[in-house]
Amino acid sequence: MKVVVVGGGWSGCAAALAAKKAGGDVVLLERTDLLLGTGLVGGIFRNNGRYTAAQEAIEMGGGDLFDIMDEVSRHKSLNFPGHNHASLYDVNKIEPYVRTLLERNGIEVNLMNRMVRVKKYAKTILAIITDKENEFAGDVFIDATGTAGPMGNCLKYGNGCCMCVLRCPSFGPRISLTAKMDIKETMGQRDDGTPGAMSGACKLNKATLSPQILEKLERDGVVVVPLPEKIDKSSVLGKKACTQYALADYARNIILLDTGHAKLMTPYFSLNDLRNIPGFENVRYEDPYSGGNGNSIRYLGIAPSDDSLKVLGADNLFCCGEKAGLLVGHTEAIISGLLAGHNAVRHVLDMQYLQLPTKLACGDFLEYMHGQMIKPNGLKVRYSFSGSTYFERMKQLGLYTTHNEEIKSRVAACNLSNIYSTCLV
């Protein structure tokens, strides 16, 4: 049974692992020379409701990736405005760990293989052909191609290519598998209805910060510097992809997090303005390189899917990560990836698809998000365990907890303990 995962970001890696554990022969295709995609510049997890979600995934047997994140965390149990008990993994160190994990599990990882064409029969995908003219045939396929970029989109809906970690000019633009199947995709929207949203953080080169700020950042993991009055960033908030950080605190302050880079919690910030702030006189950007000018645009190609993450309109295609909805973050990507990978194997075995129950945060999240996205203005909201509307809902429904034992018993009550590590074949 051959499972082909297209896209090697967090969700693609999670899908590949889940499909492998469920008994599939897994091929993972990635267009760049590194796995993890935007996970290479992310770093924040276990903050707010993400703690519950991560712990649920671990109890369900899909904890390998969270274990790696925990292992390379620079800071744990960190509090910063609006967020509690966050962990920050080291973005510079994590990729080789994940690659080794996948390879050790027997997953065939094909880097620098960008999907360009699809062989199909009616609504069934037969094979993926990459820009190197390699053909990857499969029984079931997973679209983990994401929704960010490429340059044309970043120009049309943003401030142009900002030279981000996606590196489209070097490795070629993202191509959507769902779109190649002629399935209409939806686009997220900003408050004013403009399609897409701008990625929400920049990364500063740590060595260019003043020694005082650097020392505090490395010690505490977080530094909050009030913005001088003449600089106001509030107009940027509505553009952000990560609504959980679109808080007034983030407009009045510079918030830096230590993820290996100094993560600056704003989509972009004029370098000259930044250099007027004490401690930032010599600062420069690490990612995106043109962080003074803009950031990548995302949510431009969301596949229509149901709560089992099967893509509607294709016979043997699943989706995960941002492809599956307006979700934000690694935790969200991983929980969707695990489900898509697991269900892909169930599809080939002609089993009933796994649908996560709403008694679990992960299940409620997917159901709520898909339900909201078809409502008016639903495409203007981003969904995350860590903030915005969904975290409020988690708290109201009593789904939010940081007690591991309680999460364990909830998962057990749903008969889902170790479901992702169970071989179905």
Partner: protein, 322 residues
Amino acid sequence: MNDILTARCIDINTPYCPCILADLNNCVHCSRLRGEDICDCDWAGICIYYEKYWQKKEVGDTKAKARTQIETEFEICEQISADIFKISIPVTSIFASMLKKIGSFIFIKLIEDPDYFFFPVGIMKVGTENLEVIIEKVGPKSKRIFGEKQKICVKGPYYNGILGQPWIEHVSYGKIILIAGGMGQAPAISIAEHLLTNHNIVTAIIAPGQSQVFAKEDLEKMGCEVFSVCSIRRVGIPMLKDLILTEPKPDLIVSAGPDEQHYGIIDAMKNVNVNLPMAATNNATMCCGEGICGSCKKVMHNGVMIPTCKLQTSFNQFKDNV
């Protein structure tokens, strides 16, 4: 060498991209510049949509960069046969340097004639301040320039004179067979020059076609092994079969001549069960050179119709006899 050549616009990454087609929302490469909602291009290492954006910033709403037009007076170097002339056209050194790319061609007309008198002429040799071309008097347009006045207007550069141009450009230290028949001898000279610069071993089979053999001396001087035969069909093709089967196998076949010659070579390769990349001169009827008029359009095996003045692909991708 990659023996599949994706259909791609020859003007990408030249000063003439984005072109008038992008202005008209008909770019052959970029989905956005065709009015589609999402990016879906066959990535060529450059974003044309972005180039369009910069073009607008630099020159405002003016149209895409137009090709250069030069008014000049040519001189006949040699009358090869009753209707075939080798002429030398003085041009600026910048214009000459723009035509050094393999497959370059220009359009020529008398200065006082209207634009629809422009006809395409492949480049044989590029000097520092002149071009050498071969022109055969065949129709109303080409006959006109050999009247009393020899003041002509030259427009260029255009690049898609050879299908499979990237192969010629990139092959090095290889074994190449170059087949040139009739007027195809003219582009064969510039092709051979390029191939030899890249340390390839070039074996040329040339035939007079409807005219005479005129490239033998030039090719030999450059260092090609030249077989001058009376007919490509009767002698050249059997000779080619032998050459294909001789080890080491050739890396590339270049066919410079009429379409019948291209098909003959494809058939010859099929006969001996060998599939080699084949570059071939582009003999489509060209009028505007900008992908607008449609005179050069051909249908590919996948049913897509492409303007061959712009799109680079390999000759065997075309449906026969279209």
